[in-house]
Structures are given as C-alpha cells and as structure tokens.
C-alpha cells in the first residue's frame, strides 16, 4: 500500500509565537520548529497500517528548509522516504492554496491512503483534510479515532460532538486523525541512524507542476488586515484560603450575578 503522511512543521508552543510586521505572516524563524503534534499520531497510524498490510510510507512536507529537521524525525520514527516541497513562492499561502500545492505533489507520488493530522497547532484551521478530499475526489475519512482496513475497504470511527459516526468507504482515501487514535512511538537510536540514509526528494514548485499564480501571499484568497497584541486581562484578586475560600468565591460569583 502506498501511504503518504502529511507532516507540517510548526513553532513550538512553548516558545513565543509572533507574526511578522511586514506581511502579517508567521515568524517561523522566531520560534523552534517541531512536528505538529497531531502529525505524530498520523505518522504512527501510517506505520501501523504499513506493518499490518505491507507497503511504503512517504512523508510529505511543504515548508521552508528548516522543516528538514521534522522530516528526519518522521523518518526516524520509521517512515521510508520523504518529499519536501520548498519554494519561496509558497510563502504566505493560505489553506486553499496549500491544499492545491499538496494535491499537485500527490499527483506525482500517487497514493492509496493520505494520512494527516486533523488540525495544526499554529493556524488551527482544520481545513486541509476536507479540502484535499474535495480536490482529489476521494472519500473524506476525517476526525478518525479508529481505522480498520480490509482489502480495499476502509472503516473509520469519526469523532463528533455527540459521540461518533461509523463511516465506510473504498480506497484510495484521505484520513485525518485525532489524538485518541494511538500513542505515537519514540524514534529508537537505530531509527535515528537509519533516517540519515533514507531518501528525501526536494521539489520546487516547477518540479511539482504548481502554477506560481495560484500560490503565495500575493495570490491568497484571504488577507490579514491588521493585528495587535491582545490587551492584557486586568489583574484579578487573589486570596489565600483561610477556611472560607469557597464562601469568598461564592460572594465573588454573587457580585457578578452568577449565583
């Protein structure tokens, strides 16, 4: 089975995240880059499917040069090879454009299954899985907390606000995962060593057949108008419990008409 797993490098949530004043895009140099957390679950699921059904796992990343670190980590977890789409023309792409660019690369790699996270920790749009399924004309098996494959049929449990839906489809398909799905493995020392020798193909937009007029900040379908630091919350009152802490909170809540 040809499994492609999408991996995005995002700024570490522990370090300060900023937008650049020139063009209102994410300042990716200001923070340490890490694999988007849910993408580790996507990699893990892809590896488990490969282990059960055979095949190959390819990591696909669109992002600056620096994203190589994240690609190596994905390979160290056990993916077989990687494709890195990197081109200055892609900077500032919005979700609509990102899904287009990734679709073009998937046209080159081919796929039976595309596995991705259901949301990134930086932009948090949660749009990619649906956009890709629509573009590729394949089943959207998103927000999955359980995946079962039997031949070419695939069943997932789709997490919903009220519980879950059981969804059936036929491969090829796009699957996005939520964190309940598995527990990602840590790369072993052997895995880390092996990752150094695994092939990483670097593509520019021309290599991938991506139309420069359809990507990048200047052609985006959304634009940031302005941004500012949120005003700090006014300092609240903090008291130490002297046996009446609960009563004091009740008084505060009463003053705000909550009780």
């Amino acid at each position: 089975m040809n499994i492609v797993v999408l991996v995005k490098q995002v700024p570490d949530t522990e370090s300060p995240r900023k937008l650049k004043s020139e063009d209102s895009t994410l300042d990716r140099a200001a923070a340490d880059g890490v694999i988007n957390e849910l993408d580790e679950y996507a990699i893990e699921e892809a590896l488990r499917i490969k282990e059960a059904h055979g095949g190959e796992v390819t990591v696909l990343t669109m992002g600056p040069d620096k994203a190589t670190d994240s690609i190596r980590k994905a390979l160290a977890m056990g993916a077989d090879k990687a494709v890195h789409l990197v081109d200055d023309a892609l900077a500032g792409s919005d979700a609509l454009q990102t899904s287009y660019a990734i679709q073009q690369v998937l046209g080159r790699t081919g796929f039976d299954l595309v596995v991705l996270g259901s949301e990134s920790t930086d932009a948090r749009t949660g749009l990619l899985a649906a956009m890709l399924a629509e573009r590729l004309g394949v089943p959207q098996l998103s927000l999955a907390n359980k995946v079962e494959i039997n031949g070419t049929s695939i069943t997932v449990q789709r997490q919903t606000d009220y519980g879950y839906d059981k969804v059936e489809a036929t491969l090829p398909a796009v699957v996005s995962v939520v964190e309940k799905i598995n527990e990602p493995r840590y790369p072993s020392f052997k895995g880390i060593m092996a990752a150094k020798k695994k092939p990483v193909e670097t593509l520019g937009i021309a290599d991938a057949g991506i139309d420069a007029g359809q990507v990048g900040l200047a052609n985006a379908a959304t634009a940031v108008v302005d941004f500012a630091e949120a005003p700090p919350r006014s300092k609240g009152e903090i008291v130490t419990d002297e046996g009446d802490g609960g009563i004091k909170i009740a008084e505060f809540l009463a003053s705000k008409k909550f009780v």
């Binding site: 920790t121 879950y164 059981k166 036929t170 802490g245």
Partner: protein
C-alpha cells in the same frame, strides 16, 4: 441587501445554540437566510424564526445526512450560485470547518476560520496563539466563507416570519464516497454541551483520581454548568477525552470558567483564554493560571471546592 447564508447546526432536529449566534451575527451583515439540511425541520422552525431568519432553505432529503460532509457543501455551493449571498456562515466546529473547506474548493473562495466577530466588509476578528494576538482578516477571492467560534457572539431574539423554500441537490459519486453506516450518540446526561455552556468547571491533575471528579461535577451541577478537564486529567483516564479543554481539545468561551487544580499551561490556556470571567482554585500561588483570573483562591481544592458548592446551594 444581500443574503447571508447560515448553515444550521442541529443534532436530529435540535438546533444548537451556535446557530442562534450565527443568525444574530448575520442580521448585522445582511439578510439572514438559514440553510436546513436533513430531517426534523418542522420541530426547529419556530426557533429559527424567533432568531430572525428572513428565509429558510429547507433540504429535507435524508440522503444529505447519510454521507460525511460533502452533501452539505454541494448544497451550499448550489445556493451560492443561485442566491449570490454576501457571505456564508458556519459554526467553527470540526464538521462546520470541513463543510467550509469543501465549499471553498468548489467555489474558489477564501475561508476565515474560528473568528470571534465579523465587522462590516466581512472583516473577521481572530483570537490567535492562545489569545495572545488579535488579528483581523478578510476574504479576497470568491464569496467569504466564515467559520465562527461557538459562544463568541451573544444570541439575541428578533422574531421574523421566514419565507420557506424547499431545495434539493443532486449528489455526485464523489459526494457519496464516505457513507455513514452508524451514528452513535453517547450519553451526555443532563449537563449542557461543553462548547455551548455559559459556565464551565474544569478539573486538572490536582483532582487526583476519577472518583474525585465528582467534586468537579457537583460544583458544575450547582451552577448549571458543563464539566471540562485538562489534558493531564484526560490522559490519566480520569475523565473522557471529549471533555478536554485546550489546544488539542475543545475551545470554550463561556461567561464563567472555573479552573480547579489546573496549572494553566499555555496549551490549556489556548482553549479557555477568551472566557469572560475566570476563577481558579490552586494550592500553588505561583501557578500561571493566576495570571488570567478575575478571582483566585490559593488553597486546597478538596476544602475550597466542596465549600463553594455548598455555599452556592445555600444561596439558591
């Protein structure tokens, strides 16, 4: 005035509160036109009228809710064609955002996700990086598609007598590629939905065990609120995962958020920082949650929380 399409969020005919918020917002931007998909409209009709829908497009065919997301996007794309709306509003839930994503591809439009408000000219306000930055953004291509965060807009009634129009859409094979074969509604009990609740009481690692979560539930019930949990608590298996608040859980924006035994890690804050009033109980005076609070008590939650619950009951 241009129509503003509002995709109605409902579970088996029960309209979610976020829809009333979207209708309230749509009234400020143009003429609200609700879009109903699936069975159950008759029971929901009065609610949509009460919150000012000038029109309701009713697509009652059960087939439209038998497949994952795609049919809703197909229907909306058809309405975007025929009605040329000023914008399309959906709720910024997992499914709402996915409808937005497919619709964006179908119509070549931009999407703004998780906005907390929309101003004239369809400029969306986003609260990003865990509430640290307020950004404004707009759609520059196609019809603005805007996913609005639940609980961000105060719903206001404005009774209207909506015109009803029955609509249908022919689904393509691709729209029917992911079939829903079973729908499992998990017992949610008497408490309000976490993302919709006006009051949320959350417990963290300090709560210590699944049994002790009863303290959190009792407090939530005394206030008529929902129960949430930090990731430390859901990872430990003390409370089900769907109640996790934070970056990889639910984003909540209630009138009142009470954090009990939660330190206030940035990933937790990402999911609750826009709450209107924040209260914390924590034994560590240095806990970062205290930077956010309107009222905080440094103390043992096993003393303070039950006392608070008793006091609230007394005052009722």
């Amino acid at each position: 005035m241009a129509e503003i399409l509002v995709l109605v969020d409902h579970v088996d005919g029960e309209v979610k509160k976020v829809t009333l918020e979207l209708l309230t917002l749509a009234r400020r931007l143009g003429e609200p036109a609700a879009v109903w998909v699936g069975p159950g409209y008759e029971g929901a009709k009065d609610k949509l009228a009460e919150y000012g829908a000038a029109k309701v497009y009713v697509a009652a065919d059960e087939e439209l809710t038998s497949y994952v997301v795609a049919p809703k996007a197909a229907l909306l794309a058809q309405l975007v064609q025929s009605a040329s709306p000023g914008a399309v509003l959906v709720s910024a839930t997992g499914e709402g955002k996915e409808v937005a994503g497919r619709l964006a591809v179908k119509t070549g439009s931009g999407v703004l996700t998780d906005v907390v408000d929309v101003a004239e000219g369809f400029v969306g306000e986003h609260s990003i990086f865990g509430g640290a930055i307020i950004a404004h953004a707009k759609v520059t291509k196609g019809t603005p598609i805007i996913a609005v965060r639940p609980n961000a807009i105060a719903p206001e009634a404005a009774p209207a007598a909506p015109a009803e129009e029955q609509v249908s859409v022919t689904l393509s094979d691709a729209d029917k590629a992911a079939k829903i074969v079973e729908r499992v509604v998990q017992e949610k009990g008497e408490r309000p939905d976490l993302t919709e609740a006006a009051i949320v009481v959350s417990g963290g690692r300090g709560v210590g065990s699944a049994e002790n979560f009863k303290i959190i539930e009792d407090l939530a019930d005394a206030l008529g609120g929902a129960v949430g949990a930090s990731r430390a608590a859901t990872d430990a298996g003390w409370y089900p995962h769907q109640f996790q608040v934070g970056q990889t859980g639910k984003t909540v924006s209630p009138q009142l958020y009470i954090a009990v035994g939660i330190s206030g890690a940035i990933q937790h804050r990402a999911g609750m920082q826009t709450s209107k009033t924040i209260v914390a109980i924590n034994k560590d005076p240095e806990a970062p949650i205290f930077e956010l609070v309107d009222y905080g008590v440094v103390g043992d939650l096993f003393q303070v929380a039950p006392q608070l619950t008793e006091e609230i009951k007394k005052r009722k």
